[in-house]
Amino acid sequence: MAATVSLRTSGGKPSRRGLQDPLWLRAILITLALGFLVLFLLVPLVYVFMAAFEKGFGLFLKSLSDPDGLHAIWLTALVAAIVVPLNTVFGLAAAWAITQFRFRGKNLLITLIDLPFAVSPVVAGLVFVLLFGRNGFFGPFLFEHDFKVIYALPGIVLATLFVTFPFVAREVIPLMQSQGNDEEQAALTLGANGFQIFWKVTIPKIRWALIYGIILCNARSMGEFGAVSVVSGMIRGQTNTMPLQIENLYNEYQTVAAFSFAAVLALLALLTLVIKVIIEARVQRQGNESGLPVSVPLVAANPVLR
């Protein structure tokens, strides 16, 4: 079943003659659809950029180069640099375990991997405060050793790990399941060891889904707000990521500055969408050329709740 922002490779059917809806119906429906989308999508998106550049390009740049702002950018990038590789390794390990072997409890494992999607980001932040906050489970222990998790980088990393946990796994697993593991078995008979099979046979097969999962994981890591705002304490210049910096600036009525950062993140989002379109086209083309079965639509069997 469909999940949002997963790659669609089923491709459109050729146009259907003889079953055209009447012109009046088409006009109404297109107007309604486009009107809805313009109002709810386009206008907010365009507004972000307009508000950022309201006072000119100069102020836009100045807002970004404010020391606290630069720190926010750096922190955001750092968190992403830690979180994305970790969750990618996890996603690949889980995919290998699930698709190459037979064992009981496989479906349960797949459902559990989707769990973070079902949890509100605020709750996600809360769980780590409960564990590592001053009054939390490990609170006293951490305090004694002068190691801060909450209101510090480790907390932000943990919360972001939690929230972006399933992204790579759920792009890669369905694809590997549909491709089967005949090629891996063949490589085994030809004498390859585990790593060789993984690098030379498996990774090339799934590379587009893998890239896309990584891009999504990255976009989400950089944009996460709810979970991070709970654990970070929003200490300017220290624990503010870009989304938190946006909130700070906005609450202080520094509108242009807030929207400047927002524009950067919005650009990142648009880039994510562009990459998705490119990847979809690549996968389509590969599928159309081959006599081999097209990779199944890169959708997850479990619902996306985030």
């Binding site: 079953l19 119906l25 659809a33 390990a93 290998w96 939690f162 593991n181 078995q185 989304p243 938190l244």
Partner: protein, 300 residues
Amino acid sequence: MLKHRQLLPGFGLTLGFTVAYLSLLVLIPLAGIFVKTATTGFDHFIASAFDPRAIASYKLTFGISLAAALVNGFFGLIVAWVLVRYRFPFKKVVDSLVDLPFALPTAVAGISLATLYAPKGWIGSMFAPTGWIGSALVADGWIGRFFPPDGLAENGIKIAFTPLGIFVALTFIGLPFVVRTVQPVLEDLESDAEEAAASLGAGRWKTITRVVLPELTPAVITGVALAFARAVGEYGSVVFIAGNMPMISEITPLLIITKLEQYDYSGATSLAVVMLCVSFALLLTINAMQAWASRRSHGV
């Protein structure tokens, strides 16, 4: 459990790592919520989770989420229809944009919507008493004059900082879900059934409503459920545009944060338990619905 050795290498390593990572990062922390609630006692849990302020937040959160999801159901179906079946300029661009709410950070959406719908914002000002919509609705406006003595909206319609603003934000956030759930189903629909109906003399409207739409119902319902589930937990896009006034426009996630800021850990946790239970129930329901939907389409 394993009678045979596994054929390909790496079973122990990958499964072990997977389970360990999953447990440490997800399962144990989540369990922590339930453990905490258990240790503070059932009565305390009930008191916190169901006090008037909490209940007001539930009504608000669930109510508006549902409304937004239903609106997305209606418009999402239309958008999916138009994207799959019609041709118009820039269709590909429009199609890609549908994913924007999913890709855009919630804080960005939050401040953009809040500013737009504030009384002085581009859209909010249209609904203010001086705007072109608002002025029509006040007591002496061309619509409002039929509704003495105060018109349809005494001071125009205020969107930001009211539940209406929350509705707007949650509609934005749920937009892709119905569209992306219905689109593949529409794309894969064979035209045979419609052609048969047409050859039997059914007009286009009848064909659509009686042959095609029923096929789409499971997908629409699933999409609405997904949008609802997403909206219920949403924080970032809502917190700027909501008034955040207790009992009136305070969503549950915000209430959790407020309690945390007051160091009321157990209160916050109680609310989190309620949200988790709802989320898990939704997760199971949606799974079941998807199983039903695929049985329906494959069982034929």
